[in-house]
Symmetry: C2
Subunit: 145 residues, 2 copies
DNA sequence: ATATTTGATTGTAATAATTACAATTTATAA
DNA sequence: TTATAAATTGTAATTATTACAATCAAATAT
């Protein structure tokens, strides 16, 4: 899952040089939940004390460019990152900055059919993402850290 | 549409004091397309040269709090604001920061039915918004590889 | 109409997140 | 092993946003 060799395979598969910083950032991204750049920085610093904040931003940028990570942003919160790049939707908690992934192939099928040959405002749709706003009825502790 | 009296009515209707700054900011918000705070600031300054940037932020905050405006944010762009507060979706251009509103009551009905009594991850849904990613009929040589 | 009060606006300065850039170091391919 | 192209680092700059105290104005009471 967050196996080092798997990470190395993913980086090289995208033509990226493998560095300790990149491996560690990608690992922190995969094992934490929608972390911010700062959360990743703090996490990775435990292993690589010399790590620069700039490097974290650089690596996140290239991961996003290579589609190994996505950016996640709410209306109020700062930028967060997501190593889950398979198609999915998001549940946004309206009373906190918590964001959860949501997979629903059945719904995707419905949406795909609905938008087949549909071009609102002459728009060519390449992806459909849902933002489900609401509340989690069970209080749950933070996953990060 | 962007009639001054209409704006005054909206502000007072939300229990807000009516000031020239508020009227002008709301007007700029209504007649422009998902403007940033800075775009609003520059626009309003033409009429009110003494305007402070802080005031623009203050007013936008209170408009959002009173549900007279919404925040709109893409994954890369800075904060934008939207005076259209009726339920709608967004078309996000993947090759620019352009965002357009999209209304589709038929689709809303389908989604409402689909999520009736559905609580993914114990989540109580209060609103469903679509992000349609794609391109606005772009000429071929504008597409980046 | 005038005074009072409550809230809005302003200017400055601070903060937070992110980016620019030049120097240094490192991973990889020859 | 060496060359080189790319990655990392540290610093400084930039950008967006917020904090805050002083001033000012709109609504309300007198």
């Amino acid at each position: 899952m967050a196996d080092i060799n798997d990470i190395i395979r993913k980086l090289t598969g995208k033509g990226m040089k493998v560095t300790p910083q990149r491996v560690a950032v990608y690992e922190a991204l995969s094992t934490n939940y929608h972390p911010t750049a700062e959360e990743i920085y703090r996490k990775v610093q435990e292993k690589l004390p010399g790590l620069s904040f700039t490097t974290v931003y650089n690596i996140l940028d290239v991961l996003v460019a290579k589609d190994l990570a996505h950016r996640v942003k709410t209306e109020t919160d700062i930028m967060r990152y997501d190593a889950v790049t398979d198609h999915h939707h998001h549940l946004y908690c309206t009373s906190s900055d918590r964001v959860e992934d949501y997979f629903d192939p059945e719904l995707d099928e419905i949406l795909r059919n609905y938008f087949e040959n549909k071009h609102p405002n002459g728009f060519i749709i390449s992806d459909i993402k849902l933002q489900l706003m609401g509340q989690f009825n069970l209080p749950k502790d933070d996953i990060i850290n």
